[in-house]
Structures are given as C-alpha cells and as structure tokens.
Symmetry: C2
Subunit: 151 residues, 2 copies
Amino acid sequence: MILHKDVRSLFHRHGLAATHQRQVIYEMAAAPPGHASPEAIYARVRRKIPGISLATVYKNLRTFIDKGLLGQVSLHSGSLRVESNPAPHHHLVCTRCKSIVDLKEEDLEPIRFRHKLPHGFRAQRVAVDILGTCKACSTRARGPRKKMQLN
Amino acid sequence: MILHKDVRSLFHRHGLAATHQRQVIYEMAAAPPGHASPEAIYARVRRKIPGISLATVYKNLRTFIDKGLLGQVSLHSGSLRVESNPAPHHHLVCTRCKSIVDLKEEDLEPIRFRHKLPHGFRAQRVAVDILGTCKACSTRARGPRKKMQLN
DNA sequence: CTAGATGCAAACAGTTTGCGTCACT
DNA sequence: AGTGACGCAAACTGTTTGCATCTAG
C-alpha cells in the first residue's frame, strides 16, 4: 500500500508538482493487481475525482513512465509486430529504438522454475526478452533518440 | 527463403485461397529480419503490387495470426499496460484473456547465456514471460473467449 | 508570481468493418 | 457458380496535442 505522503515526496524528488489528480492517478496505477491499462486507471480515478479528464490520465502516465516512476509491460504496445520464425526463440530488444533481434533458444540455458507456478496456470512456453541497447543506439550515445526501427 | 510453391500449399492446407496478394503479403511479413510492423509490410508489398490496399494487408495479417501462420511479438500490442513493481520480476501471461500476474525473480533459476550476445548489444535486464492459460481460462475451457481483463 | 498542471476538444495513429466487385477453386 | 478475397471509405479505439484556465510552489 502506498501512502499519500510518500507519493508527494516521490513527486518532489522528480521535480513534479504534487497535485491531487496526479497523486490519485499514481495510486490507482500502482494499485494491485498491477498491469492496469489507461482506461482502467481512468475508471478507478474517476471514482475519486469524477471530473478528471482522460487526457490528464494519459499525460501523467507518460510523465511517470518517462521519469521511471512506472514501467511499461511491453515496449511494443503501440503497433503490431509479426514474426514467422517457427522455431522457439528469444528476443534481444533495444529499449531505445525498439528493434528486435532473434536469439536461438539454445543460446540460453534452459529456464527452470524453482517453485510451482500459481495454482491453475498451465504454462505452454517461455518467452525471454533481453532488454538493453543495440549497437547503433549505444554508439550514438545519450543523444536524442532517432527514428525508431519498424523494419 | 520461402518459395512460392511452399506458400501456396501452406495456404491450401489451411483452407485459404492462394491469391497473388496473399502470397506477397506472407512473403514480405516473413522476410528477414522479421518482426515487421503492418506499415512496413505494406510498404514492402506495395513495391510489388502498387495497387494493394492497406486493409488487405491487415485482413491477411489477422488471418495468418489466427491460423497460426504468423506469431505476434507481443500479446499486449493493443494498449498500454503500466506497472509499478520496482523489484525485478517476471510475468505469467494468459494467451487467452491477456491477464498478467507477477512472478518473483527468485521463482526462476537465474537466466544464463550460453554464448556471447551479438556484438555491440549491451544487456541491461532480462524479462521472462511464461505464456499459457490462467485458471479461469482453462476452466471455461475451449468456449468463446469472454471479455478480456484490462484490470 | 510563474512554471507547470488540468480540462476540453480536436487531431492523430493504428486497426477494423461494411459493402460492392472480382477471382480462386 | 459460389465462396471467399480485394479495394475503398468510413468507423473505431487508443493516444497525443493545442490552448485557455487554474494552481502548487
């Protein structure tokens, strides 16, 4: 559970004004079970602040993500990406330009669970994303990111 | 490299008419380096069939995905999902309802590379998705999938 | 007092759909 | 010949932006 006071100081540390809206948006975005969508967060926030604007929710989520206060479940939420590699494989994903490169399954030691999975979940396959920066992006170091690769 | 003939029989095996457009769309979608976006595929196809419609590309990509001829890089490409869990962790992802549950990092044996990563890629962290069906979705077995969870 | 936040509406990007016409089987 | 595919435009969903107003610091 997150305390209002913590959120306020968190915002201040990141140079963000601690408005009421922003606090509630953050709390609802961080609330369990997590992984909420903007619409879901908007719905939750509206229960507390009926007059809130959806645009405000989006603006704040973007701010939180940019400042690292929230993470995104998938870097590829914008647009569909399709693949035909029928062999099981993993991905090297560049957090900067979003490019994807395949990694053969045998390039990783087999993934092993230490404990039973939550009851009732039937695992079918394991997909590993190795997140980092690709060669091009680490070369053109910290500069403003160029256009992203869509292949 | 994919041969026209193979593609035709692949389509026939799945009960799909082997139109010229469909063949080119499939070839361009499957072409290296893979992971192409619909727009990118559209651009490639247009070089061969200038009059192609973007809707046709989308319709076919959806068909290919539904029939399992192509895979999607991320199941969450539709909408943003946000998360606040600051500890490193992994995900159990239901391929049916798209729900996500966290798995503590220690629940998996550490991920180990067998070989060096491609030159120049700087790995920062590893995100594992365990794909399968959640309890609710395996219970309400093969029926038509209900509304998806957005949290 | 001022930079930055909010709310609204309009603009955008990505994707899907309806429908008339055309083509594979 | 008939079912399904194509092309076009319109509809939709998810997200961003411009601008006037308001508020935290």
